[in-house]
Structure formats: structure tokens, C-alpha cells
Amino acid sequence: MKKLVLGLAAAAALAVAGAAQAQGYPTKPITMIVPFAAGGPTDIIARIVADNMSKTLGQQIVIENVAGAGGTTGIARAVTAAPDGYTIAMGHLGTFSAAPATYPGLKYDPINGMQTIGMAGGTPILIVARKNLEAPDLKAFVAAVKANPDKFNEAHAGLGSVSWTTCTLLKGILGTPKINAVAYRGTGPALNDLVSGQVDFMCDQIVSVAEQVRANTIKAYAIASAQRSPALPDVPTTKEAGLPEYQIEAWNGIAGPKGMPKEAVDKLVDALGKALNDEGTKKRLLDLGTVLPTAEERTPAGFAALIKRDADKLTPALSAAPKQ
């Protein structure tokens, strides 16, 4: 009986403490885990957004880079942390939508096991090929690939990378999942071999390939977004070029552990929204070639829907992809 009373008292004390803490959220610095090395695209976006969010929240958001296993190590750590609102993570298309179908032993459930905050930005995906590939446009390329799938080499930046994920989706749509996939450690070396004509095509984010497309060292068949990009206005959309099914974007967004206090979620959503409306922050993001999220995608529900939609889109192709 005495134990029970003590236990109840302790529980009550904890509850009060918890409530008091949530009241003034945030009362201490917030950790934002970036599941990639410092200096990469996700890290840069996280730092730009967190910089402005810190001002709104009145507490510093500290970036912690926890790289590993295609970003899943860091996300796993963030979404299994105490749901007090002081640990959040900046993930992307790979870690939130593609990971369950890519990594069989994944230690978190992005659909049901985490609290989404909102999307921070997206980058369109391009289908690019070596300069001297015969096919002049996307239609001819698709026909050539479908006719002779074993004659082509696709380059990607490693299993689980954006280029692997989006190109696997493309191959799934074309019905040619077995095209030779050549893995590189990162986009740079892959692009290098595409420029020198060692491989035939790849899919990657506009920020990575725009410069080479403009310099005419590789050719771009299409951009997999609804509108053309101001950065490469001559490249048609997949819809215009005759492959409307291929719609995919590499996005970044914030999530935390499931069960975070409502106040913390609300304040984080508010801070994210203010950051994305801030002229300075907006400019820094746009300069990177980022497309700003819609009002809907900035909300927890909208972002969760995006994760689910892309997961549904990617899972069949990724599960069928030759892996283990």
C-alpha cells in the first residue's frame, strides 16, 4: 500500500513536471538529427531552416550529424528518442518513403511510428544520359530501352540513394527492372562516368546535374515534375515528353518521435512555416534549386500524406529491385 502511494506520488510529480516542461516549450536547446554527413544537401537545408526556426522558438536548434546506412541510423535514433519535443530529425524521400522497402530490417516505421512536422523543400528529378546516346528524346529513349534492356547501363549513387530510388522507380514504370545498374559512391563519380560515356543514363536531382546539362556534356531527357524548372527551362516535363506516370521529387522534411506533446508539435510547425515564409531563408533555399513546399505539405498531416503517397508509389518497384 505504501509502495503504491509512493508510486502514485512519483507519477503525479512526474506528470506535473512534464506538464510544467511542456508549458514553456522549448525551455532548452532542441537537437535536430541530420542523418547524413555535414555539408551534404540534407545538412545544408537543415541548417538553413533550423537557423530561422531557432529565432522563432527562442531556443537554439542544434544540428547533430548521425550518418550511416543511407540515413536510417540517424532517423532511427531520432524517432526512438524520448517524445519530449527536444529531438527531431530532418529526413528525406529515401529515409521516410523508400527505406521500408529498401532495408528489410528497418528499426522504425515512417508511416505509423513517428510524428511528422512538415516538409522543408523539394528538388526535381531529371532523367539524363550520355551526350552521344542515339535516342534524341525521351520517347525514343524509352523505346530503345524497352527494345534492348540488356544493352543499357544505368549509373546510381549507391543502394538507398536518391538516384538509385528514383531510377529504380523509372525502370519499374518502363517494365525493365533488370537493366544493368552500376553503383558509384556518390553522385559525383557517377556523373563523371556519364560525362565520359562509360555508362548510358541516370536519374538525379536537378542541383547535381544542372551544371553539366547546361555545359552540354550530358543531355537531359525530361524533368519528373509538374512544371519545367526555371533553372533548365528547355528541359520538358515527363508529361510533355510522353511519360506522365514518372512523377517523383526528392524532398526533405522534419519529423520526430511519436507521442510528442501537442504544444511542441504546434510550435515546431509554426516555426517551420515562419522560416519558409522568411525572405532571407526562402532566397537561400531557392538558390539551391529547391522548390518550396505547398501550404498543405507544410502541415503534419500534409507531410504524412506525402510520405505515404511516395511510399506507395515506390514500394512495388523497390521491392522487386534486385538486392540481397
Binding site: 554527413a37 555535414a38 555539408g39 551534404g40 547533430e64 550529424n65 548521425v66 550518418a67 550511416g68 546506412a69 541510423t73 529498401t102 532495408y103 547501363n153 549507391g158 543502394l159 538507398g160 544493368n180 545498374a181 552500376v182 553503383a183 558509384y184 559512391r185 556518390g186 559525383g188 563519380p189 556523373l191 563523371n192 562516368d193 560525362v195 565520359s196 562509360q198 555508362v199 551544371e211 538486392k323 540481397q324
Partner: protein
């Protein structure tokens, strides 16, 4: 001309206040750690690597290059003052440099080393600037098969040029290759040799391995030797060489720069040969060879210039092809990768400020060494007298903080300690850890390129001999190995390395 506009861009980047400060800090800290007896450039860079993580990539690499030159120069300082070479390349400097110090001419020896190095550095900078662009264009002819064969050739050179037994060097390279296979398979996502340890799923962390095997192990090794240090008690003397000294050392500096610069480009640690070759040449053509080993200034001027020229031209294969020719450059690859820059021909086109900024900062770094080191020699002598029991715990603590800050993983610190013990064991058994580090870094690249080549060739190994460049590189590799194993040559090789 292109080269000059490129160099102008580079100096524009390198001469910003921030980057000059970083270069200065790098040179200073590099020398500070580098003068510690027995701590060579590899150990110095591994120890100091983490402090560059907070910087932007250009700044970080400028600082690292500064650390590298600082450590090189620090190594020469210890070689001259204490008769302990920091690494293989300053072995030769001990021969005549320390003798000069004993004769009260330590200042002149240090001054000659610094001026010779500066001259060599200037020449090498121009050399890199001139060769960089054409070599990068050539790199576009290289597909996965050629890269693989090039690395095979590099590793063959590394085996041949390593100190000590060929068999041991071969074992170390193989061990390095084996270590590089730990982690997630690039193509299939399968985990290999991780024993279910989550932090191994991305492979053994480069900085963990390097700091353990070099930093920690060197500290352990130094602890076991008694504190008897042959620090020169004589006066340092004036630093600037006199007119006679300059006349005597001008030609050796020129020859040393040439020899070191050419050897430095060779894959597989050709730079280590520079000082030896230069010393041998000077001794051969000297009117009175018997002066060598007794404080001949040519014996300092030539090898030191060769050392620095080679140290710098070793950047050429790294910056143009992305392939590190020796362990120090392997460290640079690690550092670049940590900063999100994948070394290779694309660096020059995608990050021209980084590429040319770094080339320009090499020259500035050399100048800085000249300016900061000559007045600071007295301080280095004092530092050499700090007891180990104070110095080494401090180094270890900084190492641990540094390692932890890379990934914020406590396990990394434990792994570093483990590799430290392992490195100590290697030293005790007479194995050189440097080839292992080279094998470790090249291993990841080699596996990647091998598999890419085989996927593109649809599984045919003939691709390596059917492509002419690749076949040529493999032939060179076989010839080099065969020559080194010939009995008469291997005897000569032993002589060169024991001298």
C-alpha cells in the same frame, strides 16, 4: 593563359583573411605536433583531422594542407635538433643535419631546410598548376577498368617502395584491403563483417582507423622508450645561411627539387624516395664525399628540397584522378570525403575555388613556414624539453574529443583505442602501418571500380586486358613486382633503405 587565370582565382580564394588565418593556424599547429619526436605527418594529420570538421570544405582543406607542410617541417626540425626522424622522408636529414647542429650550426641547417623547402614548394606549385588541367582531361579517358588497373599498379609500387620486407608490406596492404570490405555492400545493401554492430554498418570509420593506428600507437611507442632525448645543447646559432652556404646549397636545392618533384608523382609513395635519391646524387657528385655524414650542408639542402617537392607533387594524382599515391594523401581523401567532396577529376570543374584555392594555399603555406618557423625555433626547442608524462596524456585527450566529435558515437572512441593497441602490436612486430592505410582507402575505390567494370563488361574479366590503357598499367605493375623480386635488385633495395 589559362594557368594564370586559374592561379589568380586560387590566390583570390586563398588570400581571403579567413583562409590566410586557417593556413597560418594549420602550419603552426602542424609544426607544433610535428616537432614532437617520433610523430610524423601521418600521425599529426590524423590527430588534427577532427578540428577541421567544423569548417567549410575549402577552408578545411587549406588548413589540412597547412598542417601537412607544418608537420613535414616539424619533422625536419626534430631530425636536426634531436636526431629523431618523424618519418621515413626525414631520415636522411638526420645524417648531416644533426651533425651540423652538433657543430653549433643548427640555425643554418634549419634555415637552409626552410629556404630549400620554400624554393621547392614554389616550383612544385607552378608544376601542379601547369599539369593539373591536362591531366584532368586525360582522366576522362579513364573508365572503371582503367582506374582499377591504375590502383593495382599503385599498390604494386607501394609494396616495392615500402620500407622493410616486401612480404610484410604486401600483408599490410592486403589487411588494409580486407578492412575496407567491412560494412554495407554498395550494390546489394548486404552487411559484411559487421558482427551485428550497428556502427560498423558503414564500414570502419577512416579517422578512427587512422588515429588509432598512427596517433595512439605512436604515443604508446614513444612512452616505452626512456626519456633520454639527444636535444642539442649547443646554441642554435644564426638562422640565415651565409653567402658561402648559399653558394654551396643552391645547386643541390635545384637538383633536389627536380628529383623530388618527379618521384612525387609516382603512385605508391614515390615521394619517400626523393630525399634518398637526392642524398645519393649529392654524395656521388660531391668533390669530397667524405664530408657527408659530418655536417655537409648539401646533405640537408638537397634532401629537404626533394622532400618538400615530392610532398607537394604527390597531390597531383589525388587532385586529378582522385587516387591517393601514399598514406598522407589517403588521409586527405578521407578528409575530403568527410566534407562531402569526392576526390577525382570532377573536383577541378565542380569546385574550382577549392582546387585552385588549395594549390595557391600550398605556396602561401610554404611562405608562412618560412616566416613563422625561423623565429619560433627557440620555442620548438623548449617544447622538445617538455616531459612526456605531461605531453602525451594531453594529446590522447584531444584525440578522444576529436574522434567523438566526428559522429558523436562513443563506440568510435573505443574502436580507436582498439586500433591503437593493434597499431602498437604492428610496430612491435615490425610491420609498417602506412601501406595498410593506403590499402584501406584504395580498397573501397578498387572494389567499386572492379565491380563497375565487371557489370559494364557483363562479367568478363577480359575487359582489363582488352582495353589498352588498362592493359598497359597492369603490365607496368607486373614488371615492377618482377624486378623488385629479382635477387640482385632486392639486395640493392635493402641497401637503399638501410642507408
Amino acid at each position: 593563359m589559362d594557368m594564370f587565370s586559374n592561379l589568380a582565382l586560387g590566390f583570390g580564394v586563398a588570400l581571403t583573411l579567413k583562409n590566410i588565418a586557417l593556413c597560418f593556424a594549420g602550419c603552426l599547429v602542424g609544426t607544433l605536433i610535428g616537432v614532437l619526436p617520433g610523430v610524423g605527418p601521418i600521425a599529426t594529420i590524423s590527430i588534427l583531422l577532427p578540428i577541421t570538421f567544423g569548417l567549410d570544405p575549402t577552408g578545411a582543406l587549406i588548413m589540412l594542407a597547412g598542417i601537412y607542410y607544418g608537420a613535414q617541417y616539424g619533422g625536419s626540425t626534430t631530425a636536426i635538433l634531436v636526431n629523431i626522424p618523424g618519418e621515413a622522408t626525414s631520415v636522411v636529414t638526420t645524417l648531416d643535419g644533426h651533425q651540423m647542429a652538433k657543430q653549433g650550426r643548427a640555425g643554418v641547417a634549419l634555415g637552409t631546410a626552410a629556404i630549400g623547402s620554400f624554393f621547392a614548394g614554389c616550383v612544385a606549385t607552378v608544376f601542379i598548376a601547369a599539369l593539373g588541367a591536362p591531366l584532368t582531361k586525360m582522366a576522362l579517358l579513364f573508365g572503371p577498368a582503367e582506374y582499377f588497373s591504375l590502383m593495382v599498379m599503385g599498390l604494386c609500387f607501394a609494396v616495392v617502395l615500402a620500407r622493410g620486407s616486401i612480404l610484410k608490406a604486401f600483408c599490410m596492404i592486403m589487411l588494409g584491403l580486407l578492412f575496407s570490405t567491412v560494412g554495407t555492400d554498395l550494390e546489394t545493401g548486404q552487411e559484411r563483417l559487421t558482427f551485428g554492430i550497428a556502427s560498423l554498418s558503414d564500414g570502419i570509420d577512416f579517422s578512427v582507423l587512422a588515429m588509432g593506428v598512427f596517433g595512439f600507437a605512436e604515443v604508446l611507442r614513444n612512452l616505452e622508450s626512456p626519456e633520454a632525448r639527444d636535444v642539442v645543447k649547443n646554441k642554435i646559432g644564426r638562422l640565415l645561411p651565409g653567402w658561402d652556404d648559399i653558394k654551396q646549397s643552391a645547386a643541390p636545392v635545384l637538383r633536389g627539387t627536380f628529383i623530388g618533384g618527379i618521384l612525387g608523382i609516382l603512385p605508391g609513395n614515390g615521394a619517400v624516395l626523393g630525399p634518398f635519391a637526392s642524398y645519393t646524387v649529392e654524395k656521388k657528385i660531391a668533390k669530397d664525399p667524405s664530408r657527408f655524414g659530418k655536417g655537409a650542408i648539401e646533405g640537408v639542402a638537397g634532401p629537404e628540397s626533394a622532400n618538400n617537392a615530392g610532398a607537394q607533387t604527390a597531390f597531383i594524382p589525388l587532385l586529378t584522378l582522385g587516387i591517393p599515391p601514399n598514406a598522407v594523401m589517403a588521409l586527405m581523401v578521407g578528409a575530403m570525403t568527410i566534407h562531402g567532396i569526392i576526390p577525382g577529376p570532377q573536383v577541378m570543374t565542380r569546385n574550382p575555388e577549392l582546387f585552385w584555392g588549395m594549390v595557391a594555399s600550398m605556396w602561401i603555406g610554404n611562405l608562412m613556414l618560412l616566416i613563422i618557423n625561423l623565429p619560433l625555433v627557440g620555442m620548438w626547442v623548449k617544447l622538445l624539453q617538455v616531459p612526456y608524462r605531461l605531453m602525451f596524456p594531453a594529446i590522447l585527450i584531444f584525440c578522444c574529443i576529436g574522434i567523438y566529435s566526428v559522429n558523436n558515437q562513443p563506440l568510435d572512441v573505443a574502436f580507436t583505442a582498439l586500433f591503437g593497441l593493434f597499431g602498437y602490436l604492428l610496430i612491435k612486430l615490425g610491420f609498417e602501418p602506412a601501406p595498410m592505410l593506403l590499402g584501406f582507402v584504395l580498397g573501397k575505390l578498387m572494389e567499386e571500380k572492379l565491380r563497375q567494370a565487371l557489370i559494364i563488361s557483363r562479367g568478363s574479366f577480359m575487359t582489363f586486358v582488352e582495353r589498352p590503357i588498362s592493359a598497359g598499367l597492369l603490365v607496368v605493375a607486373v614488371v615492377v613486382l618482377a624486378i623488385a623480386l629479382l635477387p640482385s635488385i632486392s639486395k640493392k633495395r635493402d641497401e637503399v633503405f638501410t642507408e
